[in-house]
Amino acid sequence: MSQRPDAVVIGAGIVGASCAEALARAGRRVLILDSSFAGGGTTAAGMGHLVAMDDSPAQLALTAYSGKLWTELVPDLPGNIEYEPCGTLWVAEDEEQLVAVREKQRTYAEFGIEAETLSPTQLAEAEPHLRPGLSGALRVPGDGVIYPPNAALALVQRAIANGAQLREGTRVDAIGPREVLVGRERISCDCVINACGAEAAQLTTGLPIVPRKGHLVITDRYPGFCHHQLVELGYLTSAHTMNAESVAFNVQPRATGQLLIGSSRELVGWDGTVNRAIVRRMLDRALDFMPGLALTSAIRTWTGFRPATPDKLPLIGAWEDTPGLWIAAGHEGLGITTSLGTGQLIADLIVGATPAIDPAPFAPARVHATAGVS
């Protein structure tokens, strides 16, 4: 970039891509740096479920806001992002979970999110491959699915169309006051956005972000095997509780007719190898809900690292220790969904516009307030 950039975004995952897109759209000169390539980090491993999630009011606010932004943006994105407005079914195994389903429906209604409760019969009609005997489900029709690496790439390309520049294969070694260091090269700017996902703490010490490993299995093509993203109600507990390991039933129909089977969560540092035992547990859980999966053919497994924070909320906002530094990281298992809301929040905060949702719950300053907890 011949001219000095206004903003340097480190990380071209879906979160960095979205920040770059929003800043470039707001007229800022943006330089995007990534040590590998756009969408090649955790974003490449993500399931791409765009989902309203209600672990906390702040989480629901951010996911609902982001969902709205996705619905508006999708028509302008290329077909290879494979958007499918399939909706979500939150599946209840017993009466107790059905009570929770009804509660969830009320919570969603307060945020203006459409949702309906399905009886066991309606559920069986909607998804014949689910086992009989389930108690019902919450259908959230506004949720959808995208293919994350191409979505990240599309956002980067929109940023580029607005004058941003992308440098791939470029590892940032350090962040200083209004500058970044790449080897011997010193790039100065007005603001730096650390969007390095699970690796963000390597550049900004003190960020309480740890890698939370997940596995996914993808099958051959079985068009029509299921029609919604299917998630057990217990998924929220699996995501919420920072156990050493947990699995939950989570199956997604891809636009290609393939099925993605998840999900697992483990705290094992940066070991990215496939853990056969947890894959078996995860598949076992899926078979409990969808026995017919037993005879589908799995063609690949992979792992990825969710950037996890202690309070399950991403860090979005200024980092007071370093002048000009902003954080957009720590999106755990929701970063594909919440990328658009994050990018818009960051851009609004940087240009001084009023954000559409309250940014306070995401302020990185809360980490300082709870120093010692990590």
Partner: protein
Amino acid sequence: MTGLRVDFYPEIVAADVAVIGAGPGGIAAAVSAAERGLRVVVMDRGLEPGGQIWRHKAGAAATPEAQPWITRLAASGARTINGTSVVDVRPDADGFEIIAESASRPLHIWAADIILATGARELFIPFDGWTLPGVMGIGGTQALIKSGASFAGKRVVIAGSGPLMLPVAASLADAGANLLLVAEQARRAAVAQFATGLWRTPSLLLQAAKYRVRFLTSSYTTGTWVTAAHGVDRLESITLTDGRRTWRHDVDVLCTGYGLIPNVEIARLIGCEIREGAIAVDNRQRTNVDHVLAVGEATGIGGAPLSLIEGAIAGSTVGSVEAPSGHLLRRRAALVGAAGRMLDVFAPREELRSLPHADTIVCRCEDVSFGAVQGAACARQAKLYTRVGMGPCQGRTCMPALDFLLAWQADSVRPPVEPALVSVLSSEVAGEATPSFPLTSSVGEAYQ
């Protein structure tokens, strides 16, 4: 268990040695090990032992070269498990657990030592029209003929590279094909040098001459390759070139392929070192991973005679500290040398790198064109953005081609190494079940 869920309990087999692949190398290894009294399991995806080269028409007798080995295998005490694909291999305290899918059911093999005899597959270089029906692999054609397919009256051109073209040409002529041309891409001087080199191995020369006699009425040319196949719903004609001029032939069948590439996926999964595309072994066939040996084409393309010797070396030494016989080692050394010279002669020429155009399909599983992947920095990036190599064949065909065309490094290998039923991947036994000793099997029952 609730609902309609069916649980699949794996069959468990315990062995001293598990041989993966039942081509010549695997059979020789299994025979030599079993004849020493070791408990040997040899498994293969095929429905009968023999691999690609010794494949024969179902129910028919094996070829004269194969028959003695197949008889010996049956008498050796080794247990052959056919129709089985290995999905995963994981080391444990006592050796290895091999997870396989056998007749749609999980099969777990516990073995102290593994001999990889995973063979090789053909290298295809994509050109316009290569996906038309009527264009087939050279090895694939051989397999079709062996399974009894008719080529009577069909106008056929064989164009590609390597010594495999000769036996296939001979078989096609025998099968009544109207063989128009055999076109070798390698330069005449190189091929001539190879042919002279054969003097040093008279049996090979004799064999080559015997093949040539069988298709004498068709012409054999060097320095010539196919640049495009044409047709609407199926192959109608091809364009050939010798680098200076181009011409067309009307044909019904084009057999093409640019030699063989080792199957190293399972080796990479286990963590074996790969050198120049083949599993690296010492002269006792040991890989860098303890208790894992490898033989045959997977360790470098060398032909069935070399595979048999390597198999004998591995089978006679696996699980012991004994050195192989000096006789075997000397024959191995001689054949390895000849194989290396052959690879140099038939290496695909530079010009073939410009065969595909931007709109030429490179990945037929996912319909990805060459232009879509050309700009990618690495295989992983191309896979993520375009899904190239992500289909059910797991990139077995397109990735080696792209490796040749764009010098990409292979991406990581993870389980399953072959597509596998979810019931197979989810089958769990470790720590829960005791395998059956000796080699009897316990098949779990599916229940509701």
